[in-house]
Structures are given as structure tokens and as C-alpha cells.
Amino acid sequence: MNAIYEYVLAGFMMFVMLVALHSNLQTLISDTTALAIEEDYNMAESLIDMVLLSPGDPPDWSTTNPVLFGLAAQETIDTYVLDSKKVIRLDENYNGSTYISPGELRSLLGLTSGFNLIIRITPIFPIDIQPQGNGKYEITVTNHRSVPLANVNVTGYYVPESLGSSSERFQEQAITGIDGSCTLDFGQERTGYILVVLADLIGVKTMRTDPPYLGVRIEGGQVIQSEVPLITSVNYTSGSFYGLNTDWAARYVEIDGFTFYFELEVWR
């Protein structure tokens, strides 16, 4: 009789042990994965801070070839403030300065040819401008995850493209509703005029122009000429396909007074 009890108990104990082992191993495996991801994450984290917190060498390399890559503005002590003249050199479509090729960037960052990277720079509040005709525009403001944003102060500047002082300038203001949109009405369509839209959420700003890529800025409530075109978004990549073990890191940065979301992905 005792032997039967012993067998039953031994079977029960083995069952309990297997269940306990199974659940604990699951947790251990997931934790090990998390640790592995964390190690990879540290690499992207280190790289992003190297790119964003250093002005590079020489510090004013925007017009020359850098020896060391860094996008930080030279003349500021604030962190994560980037130099637009350096950032624009990652834009293949801009002809005004020499494009830094992905291969070149890889070697400037000290990465071997086995590594690939993506740099994405998007405005913190992407602005969508939809002309409605007769000088009326529907403006939609979202966040960088495409969620519509309410209560954003939107200011529209309808100015001559030449920015000449002889032509009349118009300014309209609105606040976005729950769907993130609002309307700017300038009364009538005007030939040779451009629209500059400034979205401001409690002092954090984003700007967009229609048509895009114009060399203008807003300073002291006035639209002024700028030698560097307004950065709408940058999508810089060194490879056309993803590999395994992709590392990712992101930061909020300031370029010309506007806030952008800077993402860096590295893989091999």
C-alpha cells in the first residue's frame, strides 16, 4: 500500500516540478532576450548621443569635409540643438551643399562596412496643408505618431514669395479642434504668394510652407529669408533592407528653433 502512495506522490512531485520549471524557464528566457535587446539598444543610444551632442571636427564643418561627424550647433551650450547647415548635408535632394554619402558617414562614425544605418528626422508636429480655394486652407496638426492634436495655436503667414516689403502681407490665427484641424482664411487667392504655417503648442514649435522646401524662417512674428531651406523631413539610409538585430534610439532635437523627432537605427 505504501509503495502505491510513494509512486503517486513521486508522480505528483514530478508534475509540480515540471510545471514550476516550465514557468520559470519562460520568464528566464524572456529576461535573457530583454537583456540581449538592452545590450543592442546601448549601441544605438551611444551612437545617437555621439551624433547629436558633438559638433564634430572641425566644429564648423558645415562647409567643409568633417573628420569626425556630429550635428550639434557650435554656438550653443544647450543640448540637442542641431546646426541646420550640417543636417541639410544629409539630404540628397538639396543641391546647395555637398551630400555626405552613407559610406562616408559610416567611416566618420567608425562603423565597419557590415553596419547599416537609418537617420529619420521628422517634425514633432507634422503639419498638413490642404488648399480649399479662394485663399482658404485647412491645416491639420498631428504628432509624430500621427495622432491629431487639439489646442495647438496655428498662425498662417500669407506673404509674397519674394518677401518684398512693397507687397501686402496677411496673417491669420486659429486653434486646432479635437480632430487636430483648423481653417485659415485669407479671403482670396493671390498670385505669387506663399503660405507659411507655424504650429505652436505651449512654446514648442513646428513650421511648414506651401509649397514646401522654401528658404524662409519666422522671427519676431515676421517671415524672413534664410539661406538654408526649411527642413521638412530627412530620411537618410545606407541600406535598402533590414538585417537582424536592429538597434533603435530616438531623441527630440531643435533645429532653427523648431522641434524635431530624430531617430537612428543601426543593424548589420
Binding site: 505504501n2 509503495a3 502512495y5 510513494e6 506522490l9 513521486a10 512531485m13 509540480v16 516540478m17 514550476a20 520549471l21 520559470n24 520568464t27 528566464l28 529576461d31 535573457t32 530583454a34 537583456l35 538592452e38 539598444y41 546601448n42 543610444e45 544647450d78 543640448t79 540637442y80 514633432i124 508636429f125 504628432n143 509624430h144 505618431r145 495622432v147 492634436l149 487639439a150 489646442n151 495647438v152 486653434i175 503648442l201 505651449i202 512654446g203 514648442v204 514649435k205 534610439a249 530616438a250 531623441r251 527630440y252 522641434t259
Partner: protein, 351 residues
């Protein structure tokens, strides 16, 4: 004890041993799991990195200004902003307060009443020094005395432009609330117009100033001090604006040895300005304007009279006077609030 009883006892011992071994195994596995979790939490630095970055965005002059100004949507806007900056499903609490007044400027959170673990969380504390111009309506009245140099060197374009700029300046004041007076100085100083809120009268007197003689700067300050004591209102801020194009050379006991500039006259002007600073316990705020090139002026003396270098202005030509008077009027009429804003941020990641 029979054979069967011994076998039974041995069997029970084996069962107990097996149970203990089983418990030890489960205990060991659980401890290992707990320790690995702690290790992961400690190693998860991403929340700190992004937390510091978000704190950086909030410690911005424009953001702090907007929060200090307040408004209907400020709290909702701050919530939207922080939610945008954070990864989805994160919880946060952000506080902006004045360290000068201990007043809460804004407090925004999306946290419920549940308690949250301190693991995978970030908290930061920082201060931001800010100066914020307040609107004119909040100001107390001002009593202003214009102390103008009418020595011989001021003749011609200089006095014309100085008169023009002073008249424009008077036009910028709210004469239902503010008062203006005029003192001129050359060999001696005279009170040309006591403190008045009659804008037409003072403008007319300013327009008819005559030039000639030396530069008795100390005398001008002394007469202005007397007028503040006699007619200045106790609820008003007392302000003196002194304009000169030369060096103090009157009164001078060593004349004519010290013709252009006299140390005694300089000392006298400094003494009188020091009296101004403690006048009637409240003191007089003095602005000085040096008209002409630095070589012709005693800039050190004018800075000393103003007490604060930022209240001394140099106008190389008379054309710049209007701009300087405008700067002074802004400085007088727009009071600036200085504050040290305390910012506290607490965020907790989604996982």
C-alpha cells in the same frame, strides 16, 4: 519494531526528502527569476535617456514663458505636449512652480490614484531662471524729472533733437496717472517745470530751452532731488533721466585751472546722485544719457551717477536720442518679473 514498520518509516523519510528537494528546487528557480528581473530593471537605462531628453524640451525659455503667462488651454496644452513626447501608455506628472513665491504655476498629470512601482521610472528636478515683462496696466504711477544739459555745447542740432526726443517720451506716458518735471543745468541749475500731469505745459517748456554756459551736473541732480521731496507722490516710482554732452565742470573752486573737467564738480555730482539713491527711503532710479563721442563725455561719471551700468546710454549723435528715450520708457513702463521656476518631472514607462 517489525520489518514492515521500518520499511514504512524509510518510505516516509524518502517522501519527506523528496518534498524538501522539490521545495529547494522551486525556491532556487524563483530566486533566480527574481534576481534576473532586478538585473533587467537596473539595466533598463532607456527610460532615463528619454526622460532627460524630455526634461530638456520642457526646460525651454518659450515653454516656461508660456506657462508663466498662463491661459485657458495651458494645462491641456502641457498635457498634450508631454503625452506627445512620451511613448504611448506612459504615465507622467509634471510640476512648474515659482521658487520666489512658492506658488504652483502649473501641475499636470495623467496618473490615476493607483500607486506605481519605482521600477522603470524616471524623475528629474531642475530650475530655470526667467525674466518676464509684465503689462503696463499693472504698474504703479511714475514721477519723472528730466534733467537736461543746456550748456553752450548743446546749442544747435543737439538741443533740437534732445527736445524732440523728450517731447516724444512725454507723449508715451499716461498723464492721467504719471507726472513729469523738468530741470535744466548750465552754470547753475533751475527747476523749469515742477512735477505736473499737464502734458501741453511741459512740452511747451521743453520746446523753449535756451543754451549757454558750463555744465553743473551736480546742481541739476540736487534741484531734482528737492523737487521729488517737495512734490513727489509717495505711491509713485521716482525716476530721473539726466542728459549731458560734456564733462561736469561746475561748481569748480579751481576755475579756470580746471576748465573742461573739474574733479570737485564730479565729486559733487556723485554725492548728489548718492543722495538720490536714498531719498525719502525709497530712492530715485536714475538713467543717464551721454550725447556725443566718448572722448567728449565723462562716461565713467555718468555710469557712476546711474549706479547701474545698464542704465547708462550713449548716443553718438543726436539722432539716436529718440531710440534711447524709447528704451528708457520701455524699461520704466514694462516692469520685469524675475523668477526661478522649479520644474519637476516624473515619468513611468509602459513596461
Amino acid at each position: 519494531m517489525t520489518e514492515d514498520t521500518i520499511d514504512d518509516n524509510r518510505g516516509q523519510m524518502r517522501v519527506i526528502e523528496a518534498l524538501i528537494a522539490c521545495l529547494l528546487l522551486i525556491g532556487g528557480l524563483s530566486t533566480a527569476t527574481y534576481l534576473s528581473r532586478v538585473s533587467v530593471s537596473v539595466k533598463d537605462s532607456s527610460i532615463n535617456e528619454s526622460g532627460e531628453n524630455i526634461f530638456d524640451v520642457l526646460c525651454d525659455s518659450d515653454v516656461v514663458h508660456r506657462i508663466m503667462e498662463g491661459g485657458d488651454f495651458t494645462e491641456a496644452q502641457l498635457k498634450t505636449l508631454v503625452s506627445t513626447l512620451l511613448p504611448p501608455s506612459s504615465v507622467f506628472s509634471v510640476y512648474f512652480g515659482s521658487s520666489m513665491t512658492n506658488e504652483t504655476l502649473l501641475n499636470a498629470t495623467n496618473m490615476g490614484s493607483d500607486s506605481y512601482s519605482s521600477l522603470n521610472a524616471f524623475s528629474a528636478y531642475g530650475t530655470f531662471t526667467i525674466s518676464l515683462p509684465l503689462s503696463q496696466v499693472e504698474y504703479q504711477p511714475v514721477d519723472i524729472i528730466l534733467v537736461m544739459d543746456v550748456s553752450g555745447s548743446m546749442a544747435g542740432d543737439k538741443i533740437n533733437k534732445a527736445e524732440e526726443a523728450a517731447i516724444t517720451f512725454v507723449g508715451q506716458l499716461n498723464m492721467t496717472r504719471d507726472k513729469v518735471g523738468l530741470v535744466s543745468f548750465s552754470d547753475e541749475a533751475t527747476l523749469d517745470c515742477p512735477l505736473t500731469n499737464n502734458a501741453t505745459k511741459i512740452k511747451s517748456i521743453i520746446n523753449n530751452l535756451e543754451t549757454g554756459g558750463a555744465t553743473n551736473m551736480g546742481g541739476g541732480i540736487s534741484i531734482a532731488n528737492e523737487e521729488f521731496v517737495t512734490s513727489g507722490r509717495s505711491n509713485a516710482t521716482w525716476i530721473m533721466i539726466l542728459l549731458s554732452d560734456g564733462k561736469a565742470n561746475r561748481p569748480c573752486p579751481h576755475y579756470p585751472q580746471h576748465f573742461d573737467s573739474c574733479p570737485y564738480a564730479q565729486e559733487y555730482a556723485i554725492n548728489q546722485s548718492e543722495c538720490s539713491k536714498v531719498l525719502d527711503d525709497k530712492g530715485v532710479r536714475i538713467y543717464t544719457i551721454g550725447l556725443g563721442s566718448s572722448a567728449d563725455l565723462d562716461e565713467d561719471l555718468l555710469k557712476q551717477i546711474a549706479f547701474d551700468e545698464s542704465k547708462y546710454f550713449n548716443a553718438p549723435t543726436a539722432a539716436e536720442l529718440s531710440e534711447i528715450y524709447e528704451l528708457i520708457s520701455k524699461d520704466i513702463l514694462l516692469q520685469v518679473r524675475y523668477d526661478v521656476v522649479v520644474i519637476q518631472l516624473y515619468i513611468q514607462g509602459s513596461g
